[in-house]
Amino acid sequence: MPSAEDAALARIVRREAGLIVAQLQRRLGNFDIAEEAVQEAIIVALRTWRRDGVPANPGGWLSLTARRRAIDLLRKRAREVSLADEWDADLANGAGATQRTGDERLPMLFGCCHPALSVEARLALTLRAVVGMTTPQIASAFLVPEATMAQRLVRAKRKITSAGIPFAMPDADDLAPRLDDVLTVIYLSYNAGYLEPSASGRELSEDAIWLAELVARALPDQPEAWGLLALLTFLSSRTQSRFDDQGRLVLLEDQDRGRWDGVAISRADGYLATAAALRRPGRFQLQAAIAGCHATATSWAETDWLQILTLYDLLLRHDASPVIRLNHAIALSHLRGPAVALAEIDQLADRLNGYHLLHATRAQLLTELGDHEGARAANERALSLTSNPAEQQLLRSRLEMPEQ
């Protein structure tokens, strides 16, 4: 069971690792070696620092260790011997210490999130190379066996080389859609940690927020980057109230708003204002605004559903995906009642048949309409479709409730 010190160590490592991968990748022109070298350095760091304490300059320590590992890896691949020797000489002279700037991670992040890679590959690469998570940690976050995740990473790195995916910032014309891909990966990472009441779940979400902030500050004229940061910060303001003492999920309507983090909410408001000032709305800004509506409502009863519905209407123009339409229907139910909402949801039945929240939502609405048989069936279907223990727990307790 990892200790609090371990967690602190791991966090320090993660904050430094991405920069070193980016620098090595640039220097070597080889992402695979750069990334492997840093992974190995991370493992050595965690072991050594646990024993000897964190060095005064953890970034420098990691950088040096990673460079040594990179030289070893280069030697192992026969063709790279001369480059390895050149590097060895540099290292002996104390040369090769590169200037550190915040931007260097960005080209690598955009490369890891390239549309030519599958979404799963983008997630795995970003969490490994940019965030510095280990393969077992990533595997556990996405509930796949370690060997599967390792294979996924190998295949992804192979595609980068064989297809010539560059680690470079996209052209101005392509920046908006490519940034959307990056922000999506960060959002998915946040989500993976969101429903885990464990420490590792919280860490993953924190890492996602850290990455979102890195991107926003590196691209301050990109409103969607600020929008994502605002969204994640609003969501994180509710971390203390999302689970009860037994680790059970608490729905938004039942959460103790007194436990919401007011400082985080103010910060999120600030990020959203920064985004809005740039006058280019987008889906992450709109989702943030919706989260903001909930964050500023003093109680569930005070929630401004009309404002939320209006925002969902706007959001649908940017993102007409079925999940957004589902959320739109939920907002609608608060204004126009369950029957109207159910009609809208039933149009999504085909596309969202495998999505547990569709059925859970139908169950809520059917209960309100007095169809307890239908609600039971829908809750059972929802239960069968989710593997998240906290959600399963919630659905089971609904099934066990006596019908009014």
């Binding site: 064989s162 297809a163 010539g164 995916i165 560059p166 052209d171 392509d174």
Partner: protein
């Protein structure tokens, strides 16, 4: 890096496109090849329609190859032509391919596939 571009289309959807529009796109394609002439290692070829194709397929149980009527795949998508380009990286290839005039029509896809580099082979 060398990539093959495979220009594909959906003949069943092409049928709905008015002749004038098709002619317009065809003209634009000439312009596209001119514009990107510098990266064309081989302009490749425009293929005659799928109805002109013949395929030779592996025989069953390792038996003799079989000659059949039609393209190699039963899929709706048809390969209409190919070219070979040489560009620094995938983003450069994508930027060029995004301008392919047929992409304005429904059901069109251009695949970008890197070529195996045999230069290191003995």
């Amino acid at each position: 890096m060398k990539y093959v571009l495979m220009y594909t289309n959906r003949p069943d959807l092409d049928a709905a496109v008015p002749e004038e529009r098709q002619a317009e796109v065809y003209q634009a394609i000439f312009g596209w090849f001119e514009k990107h002439g510098a990266v064309m290692v081989d302009g490749g070829a425009e293929l005659q329609g799928p109805e002109t194709a013949t395929s030779v397929k592996s025989g069953t149980n390792g038996g003799a190859p079989v000659v059949v009527d039609g393209p190699f795949s039963e899929a709706k998508e048809n390969v209409g032509g190919f070219s070979i380009i040489d560009v620094p990286n995938l983003d450069a290839a994508i930027a060029i391919v995004k301008e392919w005039p047929s992409l304005g029509l429904p059901g069109v896809a251009v695949e970008i596939r890197p070529i195996v580099d045999h230069s290191g082979d003995m």
